[in-house]
Symmetry: C2
Subunit: 220 residues, 2 copies
Amino acid sequence: MTSELERTDRTRVRRLPERGVYDRATVNAILDEALYCHVATVDEAGRPRALPTIHVRVGDVVYIHGSTGSRTLRGVRDGQEVCLVATLLDGLVFARSAAHHSMNYRSVVLYGTTREVTDPGEKWRAQSALVDHVCAGRSEQARMPNAKELRETMILAIPLREASAKVRTGPPIDDAEDVDLPIWAGVLPIRSVPQRPVDAPDLPRGVPVPDNVAHYRRPK
Amino acid sequence: MTSELERTDRTRVRRLPERGVYDRATVNAILDEALYCHVATVDEAGRPRALPTIHVRVGDVVYIHGSTGSRTLRGVRDGQEVCLVATLLDGLVFARSAAHHSMNYRSVVLYGTTREVTDPGEKWRAQSALVDHVCAGRSEQARMPNAKELRETMILAIPLREASAKVRTGPPIDDAEDVDLPIWAGVLPIRSVPQRPVDAPDLPRGVPVPDNVAHYRRPK
């Protein structure tokens, strides 16, 4: 098995091609770290639509879910094409010139045709994986869905095949003639930082914050 | 002038309508705080495409920009429809039941037809606003674009008309029969936190980090 994703006309990074990354490990890591993604679809009238949603990668499949009442996901049930984008912001890049300002980021774009998950076993595994994607180990703690709740949840699978990553890291790159201008240049790293957990107001006394929440961190 | 945005078939929030917000102040605040957005388009073959990009709101217009070499933006130059989504994650919502897990977030979805900005004055103001959107006051510090750089930058305007926000705040809401389960429930707030600025390796000695970077914060 190759660790390179196939480059198609859509996934080849043409603008700043040195930022294009096609190896599965990088693509997987970005999908795994990103808490949520944006899913773009085309509506009945041929117009673009996009919404943020939670996703999870399981091997070479990405699952998204929603209520069966969701207009957006309802529109993609029957094998519709989607474009899923997961983006992680790592920092702001300050150059001397406005034109070279940038951001350090890691993003994945995945194109694919959705398949509604109907097999109860796969649906259950995908649902557990979605819960654990947001917080590792949570599916062992939460009350998992009963049959009715599982029926009311729609899960869509997208094959992780036509995808690429785009990554920018490092300092600003200015034109040579700008480097000695008396203008600060550098990077302001930005991190997504969990704060102190807040108990639900109706939490019974004596139920402690579990370790996976108290010491929350994303996979790296 | 009304402070309510018009509700169209596309912007009315149907799924969990209590989360729908249509007042301009809320929509503006989310667009202003979000560092970047995702822009969805439809490609020549009728397939969805989306990419992260920087935006800025100026009054009732949202500007996005890119190189004139950018495939994505090139595709939307000529009055094409786009869907722009800006999303802010505020926290993870842990319920007792997996089905009621959620996220606290604020998002804006904007539909519109792009217009390429060709007027040099508007283009200059939009370019400055894009720089200041990422860091207030930066356009006063950076070397702003010369005529050639401004020509090489494509700026697209989208009227801020057909838009709505979706906001979730507060604790988890479990089914009554689950509340007394011995499962922790609550919210893990998540914040985007600037770290210590890192000087560019080629920064001449003695150029200090400006205050707007050293004490960086998003507008609230």
